[in-house]
């Protein structure tokens, strides 16, 4: 039977802190082995939701099921979930191997097996040889790995990750994104991942739930979240999006799909074409971003890959009259109510 139940099922979950409502009624199913991301700005309720799944907060209303079993009022230490904390929360007085083996020690796993499994977990996060170090002697990235090993070694039903890469620098973060995804694939544990970084969410997830104001705005695959945003909020939060009002309809087009057409160039066949003036040119290395004020009203951001760019002639476009064009099927109407 358990196979038919989702790993995590939330129904009508509400959490209030005093006068403010952190989570305002969330329904969600997360499947077994899924890499699921809760994405949203700070204060959107994503961390509170995660803490309720972990058992650190109890919901004021609603139901939390883990693998088909009601866990709404089950304390954190009796839930088959483990957490990777934002600040890693490694025990400073224990060495790495004791940190990793803590859950097994509590579960009274025999010493030999505990050692073997802890070492295997350390090997998985590529930290073999660091067993007897104290957390203070590790770098941020290494601490992050220990925290991951400490959670995974217990083979929980669900692994909760609360912005685990937030404290790392960009390069290390990108490396860890790939590694986390790889580890998740290998162990097959359900990951619920909280982040405010939309790129991170798109890179790693099987599905993404975009949260705002304590509610889930959209749950979908990264592709559909980006290409078919369900609301103005989702369109604006995920990547840069152009929002235009045409004939009383809200239309969104991604900047990379807007062609900038200068003198002597022809727009692609069948494209929707509008005229405007370039107001801003931002050179970003790989691409250049142009902001064009349209004659029909509104601004449009267009991206152009710097494939054939010569010298600094791109910047020279500022103030020039241009045309912008996009294929009609690349523009989507969205409900402004969202």
């Amino acid at each position: 039977m358990t196979g038919e139940h989702p790993a995590v099922r939330l129904r009508g979950v509400v959490k209030r802190f005093g006068d403010s409502t952190a989570v305002a009624g969330v329904d969600l199913d997360v499947g077994h082995g899924e890499f699921f991301t809760l994405l949203g700005p700070s204060g959107s309720g994503k961390t509170t939701l995660l803490r309720m799944i972990a058992g650190f907060e109890l919901p004021d209303e609603g139901l939390i099921e883990l693998a088909g079993v009601d866990a709404t009022a089950v304390p954190a230490n009796a839930r088959d979930v483990n957490t990777v904390f934002q600040d890693y929360a490694l025990f400073p007085h224990m060495d790495v191997i004791s940190n990793v083996g803590y859950g097994l020690m509590v579960a009274k796993v025999p010493r030999n097996e505990r050692k073997k499994r802890s070492e295997a977990a350390l090997d998985m996060v590529r930290l073999t040889g660091f067993e007897s170090r104290k957390p203070a002697q590790l770098s941020g990235g290494q601490r992050q790995r220990v925290a991951l090993a400490r959670a995974i070694v217990n083979e929980p039903e669900v692994l909760l990750l609360d912005e685990p890469l937030g404290a790392l620098d960009l390069k290390l973060r990108q490396e860890m994104q790939v590694e986390l995804k790889d580890i998740q694939r290998r162990v097959g544990i359900t990951f619920i991942y909280v982040t405010h970084d939309q790129e991170e969410a798109l890179t790693m997830s099987d599905r993404v739930a975009v949260m705002d104001g304590g509610r889930i705005q959209q749950v979908d695959t990264p592709f559909r979240i980006y290409e078919r945003p369900a609301s103005e909020f989702v369109a604006g939060f995920i990547g840069v999006s152009n929002l235009l009002e045409r004939d009383g309809r809200q239309v969104t087009v991604r900047p990379e799909k807007v062609h900038l057409v200068t003198d002597g160039e022809t727009p692609p066949a069948g494209a929707h074409v509008e005229a405007g003036t370039v107001t801003e040119v931002v050179y970003l290395g790989m691409v250049t971003r142009y902001i064009v004020a349209l004659d029909a009203g509104g601004n449009v951001t267009a991206l152009r890959q710097n494939v054939e760019t010569q010298d600094e002639d791109t910047v020279g476009l500022r103030g020039r009259r241009v045309q912008v064009a996009w294929l009609p099927e690349q523009a989507y109407e969205i409900s402004s109510a969202g």
Binding site: A54, G55, F56, P75, A76, N77, A78, V81, N82, T83, F85, Q86, D87, A89, L90, F91, P92, H93, Y102, G103, V106, A107, R150, A151, N154
Partner: protein
């Protein structure tokens, strides 16, 4: 690029500030020398004089101090009534320390981790306020509670229970000391507990640890430096006190402090008093070394 704006370049800089800015060692020396001078002259010098004095003796015929070095005083301490007095003092200090630790830990925990900010401040004031009251006033309050016609006996008699009669006993000393030094135990434990990130306790629970496991494996080890700091206060303060035994103690309540006092003022034996004063110092050093060996300061 011009680094210094012209109008700023011409501004006059205080030469003392300029000299201090460039010399870290000078700043450190200036900041440290007053307390260091105080420490060296007042504390270490008098300690050295005391140690030398403990090796002198008193001529029994002339009652004058003989300045030839001898270990006679320490032989005297190792015999007669003194071992009993030292043993009683150490036992009482240990008992007071343990009682204070047991009382202080839950209180400090509630203060540091459960109470809201407002309650937290109120509790801290409640802990520190008694330190402003006179030591003697607090001792006399305990006499009034514990003596034969005191509050405690009165309460027990009203309840129809056998009278405890704790006045002027070693138990009375234990109670009074425990009360007086309790804030010195609460504050360092509070400090240690407050610094533990909440996520560590959540992590312990998250990994399946019960409340008791978290207490034993996470809270206590991390609070240990605070606990040891507090115990140094309660232990050493009890070790050196001579007023409480005089006022609330009974016939068999002489502590090291009283022995020193008696030899100094009524016995007129300054060298023996000095030798007795060495005893608590040796005990404290042994205590600190032991605590360090057990890893009490590892989490610092």
């Amino acid at each position: 690029m011009t680094v210094v704006a012209p109008e700023r370049a011409g501004r006059r800089v205080n030469p003392v500030s300029a000299a201090l800015l460039r010399r870290t060692w000078l700043r450190t020396t200036l900041l440290l020398s007053p307390p260091l001078a105080w420490f060296l002259v007042i504390y270490l010098a008098s300690l050295a004089i005391m140690l030398v004095t403990s090796l002198w003796s008193v001529n029994s015929f002339t009652q004058t101090v003989d300045h030839t070095l001898t270990t006679q005083n320490f032989h005297q301490i190792a015999t007669g009534a003194y071992p009993t007095i030292i043993g009683r003092t150490v036992l009482l200090a240990a008992l007071v320390t343990i009682t204070d630790a047991i009382l202080a830990f839950p209180f400090a925990y509630a203060m540091a981790r459960i109470a809201k900010r407002r309650t937290q401040r109120l509790l801290l004031v409640a802990v520190l306020l008694p330190l402003w009251a006179s030591y003697l006033a607090k001792i006399y309050a305990w006499i009034a509670i514990l003596e034969k016609g005191g509050t405690l006996n009165w309460t027990f008699s009203k309840l129809g229970l056998p009278l405890p009669n704790l006045g002027f006993t070693n138990a009375a000393m234990w109670i009074a000391f425990t009360y007086i030094w309790l804030p010195y135990m609460i504050v360092p434990i509070y400090g240690a507990l407050e610094r533990i990130p909440g996520s560590l306790l959540e992590a312990s629970a998250d990994l399946g640890g019960s409340g008791l496991t978290t207490l034993r494996r996470v809270l206590l080890p991390l609070a240990l430096p605070g606990l040891v700091a507090g115990s140094i206060f309660t232990f050493s303060l009890t070790l050196g006190d001579y007023v409480t035994p005089l006022l609330v103690g009974g016939a068999n309540s002489t502590l090291i402090g009283n022995a020193i006092y008696d030899n100094l003022l009524t016995g007129g034996n300054l060298p023996l008093a000095a030798a007795l004063a060495v005893v608590p110092i040796v005990i404290m050093v042994a205590y600190l070394v032991g605590a360090k060996r057990l890893g009490a300061f590892d989490a610092l």
